[in-house]
């Protein structure tokens, strides 16, 4: 009960309320504008958050996260281009519905489904996080090493495309994380006498470079900077009667659990959840021919699942310190900037902060619901913002944000270098999700490996003689075999002409990551 009052008092603080309100609006805008995403929004606002107290900072970043995932449906419905990969499947029925003059209905369904997905998944994560964390505190360095290893391997093998690209990206992240003072013995590594590298490659510089500068420059290079045409005739009223929406309760529940589970698995997130849920909804529908022409079920499945992935991704982040997707990797970065170690001790040592975080996610879900319903008519204005002005302002924020982290121009240079590295990675088909996960988990991986070896008499053997550690390692190695099995199955299906819906849809939009 005390905790409830603490959380409520934090959330009802006028300054915090203003921060949450601002964060949610920023998140919705970043989610809505094609080419930007929740990840870009969090990356850009990380420097802004470190002047705040840890609680206010995490409230700010949490509200951007929820707003960013939920905002993707706006452009998906109004211009047929997903604002984020989390809303790809929303385009399939949302846009045709809007073109038929029922934009309000499409938006209304999407907004309600998003709210249910976020709100209920956060409630579930509030139940599961303490249970998982209770077990996690009993784990030693051996289990933690295996868990980090397993998370990186899962991200690599579950993502689309050549597995070697994912592994290379993860390893590059790990190697970059070794720059600076080594754990255990404090040796200086790869610093080349540069004082600014003693504490490692600066997180803000790296995140802004990889997720903001590189994203914007890539969009510009591909010519994705044109302002879209939007038909505003269909936007009036609130969209759909509540009773009619809930008549699809079984689909809502099914899509919800698909999203929750996919969100829980490291590295998959909302980008895949919406496609799987959509494919499931179509496969189990009595009228599959209506999908793609503007049917309610398609939007419900996509939007419920992508938002349910938020709660799923939060569970390993809070309970184990393992990010479920790229935005949660950023959130862990945000915690680290405030000197808070994400991991199983997070719940024990920072209970107030964790429950404030849950509180803000719930509150932001309600705020998004209200803002999107009552602000429906303003959506076209967001999407009509000339991209050249928007991108220029964001790049200026990036440079100033990188400087503000350590009051040195070195960080600005580092950000530009990391932006260049991210573009080179894109040229080499390397995904950024394993890269950031490798960078975040690299120090944990090394320190737990070295601690594990120091504490045990049997060297590496201890990692396979402890049951939990062995299980995690087995999962990791088994998942390494998965891409080969998947490729063989896909090749067989292609030959037989029986590709799954998810495979077909992934090809259309080339979905890889958020």
């Amino acid at each position: 009960m005390d905790m409830l009052f603490t959380v409520l008092s934090s959330l009802s603080d006028p300054y915090n309320l203003l921060i949450i309100f601002g964060g949610t609006i920023i998140g919705i805008i970043f989610g809505a504008v094609p080419g930007l995403s929740a990840t870009t929004g969090i990356a850009l606002m990380l420097p802004v958050s470190f002047s705040m107290t840890p609680v206010t900072g995490i409230l700010f970043l949490g509200s951007i996260y929820v707003g960013g995932i939920s905002g993707g449906l706006i452009s998906a419905v109004l211009i047929g281009v997903p604002g984020t990969p989390a809303s790809v499947a929303t385009c399939f029925d949302g846009y045709p519905m809007a073109k038929n003059g029922r934009a309000s209905r499409a938006l209304g369904i999407g907004i309600l489904a998003s709210f249910i997905g976020t709100f209920v998944s956060i409630l579930i994560s509030m139940i599961f996080c303490p249970i998982l964390a209770r077990y996690a505190v009993k784990m030693g360095p051996w289990e933690f090493f295996s868990l980090c290893f397993c998370a990186i391997i899962l991200v690599v093998t579950m993502s689309k495309g050549n597995m070697f690209n994912g592994l290379i990206a993860g390893l590059l992240g790990v190697i970059i994380s070794t720059i600076g003072i080594a754990p255990i013995d404090g040796a200086k590594r790869f610093t080349f006498g540069i004082v600014n590298l003693y504490s490692g490659v600066n997180q803000i510089g790296l995140i802004l470079g990889v997720f903001a500068v590189a994203t914007l420059v890539k969009n510009f290079a591909k010519g994705d900077t044109k302002t879209p045409d939007i038909d505003t005739k269909g936007i009036s009223g609130f969209g759909i009667p509540i009773g009619e929406f809930f008549s699809h309760w079984f689909l809502i529940a099914k899509s919800f659990f698909i999203g929750l589970w996919i969100g829980f698995l490291p590295g998959l997130g909302a980008g895949l959840a919406n496609l799987v849920a959509y494919a499931q909804a179509k496969a189990s529908s009595k009228t599959p021919e209506k999908f793609g022409t503007g049917c309610d079920e398609g939007i419900i499945a996509s939007e419920t699942s992508n938002n349910a992935a938020i709660g799923g991704a939060i569970i390993p982040m809070i309970a184990l310190g393992i990010p479920g997707d790229t935005p949660t990797a950023m959130l862990i970065g945000g915690l680290m900037i405030h000197g808070i170690d994400a991991g199983p001790l997070l719940m024990a040592n920072n209970t107030e902060l964790v429950y404030c975080f849950f509180g803000v996610l719930l509150f932001s879900a309600i705020l998004v619901l209200a803002l999107q319903f009552f602000g429906m008519r303003t959506f076209p204005y967001i999407l009509r913002t000339p991209v050249c002005y928007l991108y220029a302002a964001i790049l200026a924020i990036c440079v100033v944000g990188a400087y503000a982290d350590s009051n040195t121009m070195f960080n600005c240079g580092l950000m530009i270098v990391m932006g260049g590295v991210a573009i080179l990675m894109a040229v080499g088909n390397l995904p950024t999700s394993p890269f950031i996960l490798g960078y975040i988990l690299g120090p944990m991986l090394e320190s737990n490996l070295r601690q594990g070896l120091t504490y045990s008499q049997n060297g590496l053997l201890t990692f396979v003689t402890r049951p939990v550690s062995l299980t995690l390692l087995l999962i990791a190695f088994a998942s390494l075999a998965w891409p080969f099995i998947r490729d063989r199955r896909e090749a067989k299906r292609r030959l037989a002409g029986t590709e799954t819906e998810v495979e077909k849809m992934s090809k259309v939009f080339d979905i890889k990551e958020d």
Binding site: F164, L172, A221, A392, V427, L449, T454
Partner: protein, 158 residues
Amino acid sequence: MRFNKNVIFSLALIAFAGFVIAQSLMLKSLFLSQSGDIGPKAFPIGASIALILCAVGKMLTEGLGPAVPLFTGRGWKRIAQMFAILIGYVVAMYWLGYIISTLAAVPLMVWAMSEGRRLSSVMLAIFSIVTTAVLWFVFEYIIMVPLPFGELIEAILY
């Protein structure tokens, strides 16, 4: 195997991993190694060896087919243009300070990204001034981070 961009990329990765291994071999632990500890070299060396193996794997799998270029020639030109502006912005910020550099860089970025579309110069000027002022206010007064004054400006004034 074709000598496509993926092969070149893989070779560059192998060279990078070789550089990391060479640098790691020169590392010295500050303390006597505790029993069982692998020291500061082993982890980066292990990661680099794995990187070499994966780069070879990439070369063997993606070097076989034709590589699809991510950007066109025009795209690369745009990338070079944006990075040149960003580098110029950062250098100008160091010498001339935040206000002058941002007032110059923002309209330059807008102009570069507008690609010949007609821009109102009044609108551009207002946008640059407002962006510069809002960022300055947020960072100086809300986040309390003093933005660079400029080495050259400081040298002239003081």
